[in-house]
Symmetry: C2
Subunit: 205 residues, 2 copies
């Protein structure tokens, strides 16, 4: 297993190396997620990630490239539940898409396991332009454009973004800034008021 | 003028001291705003603010108290344009309040002079719980509750917060994360789509 701690060289990898590589890669990715979550993008270093994963920095570079690329890989994993949103959207009729999307995203924020990494991403994206760019690429390409793809309307992308804005704002005020009464309001009460707005942005004429 | 750099003592202040005090206080406040904007809440220190203002740390404590209190005073100034929103809301009929509020808040974000300090506050509030608490107090007490006070409805505060959520989300995606096409869309196009939503949250049955 320790062979995997050596960067892969040209030529056919040894059997041990091929088998161990995913485990090492996952360990680095896990460490990266923890480091970015705790320290934010700016204070996290490739060296720190390597140390937390118990490997050499060179191996982090080998598997992922630059710090920006490690971040992208880490948030892609942390953000995976949210990136499933388009599937949730596609999974039903268009006239109830607002409610499905609202329930889906509030569900991710309500669950502490998925909320923590999401919060870390949002914090990094708000504070650092490189992190914002990574977040933007990921959200735009994998989430908003796929939701927009479901709408047969000329301004589908702007619609998807304004719907997302309502949900992002609710998440900010409820889970990050924690403004009352919104922070303690029953989820169903929020769905009741927010779902029609999301629906309207997406499909109203 | 340099007398003002000495903390005020008990007893009647000298005439020079009384006259100079507002200037010194303003200088500290200005330095605090700059420091918090550049470094964020966590990395800013009372000592750093004092140094930037050219005064002793004791004087900063004398005028404002703790770092949290300096922050509160600084964001109150930086946030002053946004805190005028309730006036903008009150200044016209209730059935066009959504458009007035939307135009007013987008106007603040469109103007780089008011956007920069606002962005610094948002960054600090997202990253630090103490800063978030200060932001929450200020926004809740001075902005949302005053807007809610205009609505004669039982759930006025939740309504004001959901309307704010739509506007906060647009600001996040357009000015902070800069997702396209929203980031480059014409303001009028955004007002056209967002104002009815804000209006709906505030006054729809």
């Amino acid at each position: 297993m320790t062979d995997a701690a050596t960067p892969r060289r040209r030529g056919r990898p040894s059997r041990t190396e091929t088998e161990a590589a995913p485990a090492t890669r996952d360990r680095i990715l896990h460490a990266a997620r923890e480091e970015f979550s705790e320290r934010g993008y700016e204070k996290t270093s490739v060296r720190g990630i390597a140390k937390a994963a118990g490997v050499d920095s060179a191996l982090v570079h080998h598997y992922f490239g630059t710090k920006e690329q490690v971040f992208e890989a880490a948030i892609e994993v942390a953000f995976a539940p949210a990136l499933a949103a388009p599937t949730a959207v596609e999974d039903g009729p268009l006239d109830t898409v607002g409610e499905r999307l609202t329930r889906f995203l509030l569900g991710i924020w309500e669950n502490p396991t998925t909320r923590t990494p999401l919060l870390a991403i949002v914090r990094s994206a708000v504070n650092n332009d490189t992190a914002a760019a990574v977040f933007r690429r990921l959200v735009a390409a994998q989430l908003l454009r796929r939701v927009a793809g479901r709408l047969d309307l000329p301004d589908a992308e702007l619609r998807a973004e304004l719907a997302a804005a309502q949900l992002v704002g609710v998440a900010m005020l409820r889970y990050v800034i924690k403004v009352e009464p919104l922070a303690s309001a029953d989820v169903e009460r929020i769905v009741e008021r927010v779902a029609p707005v999301v629906q309207g942005h997406l499909t109203a004429p």
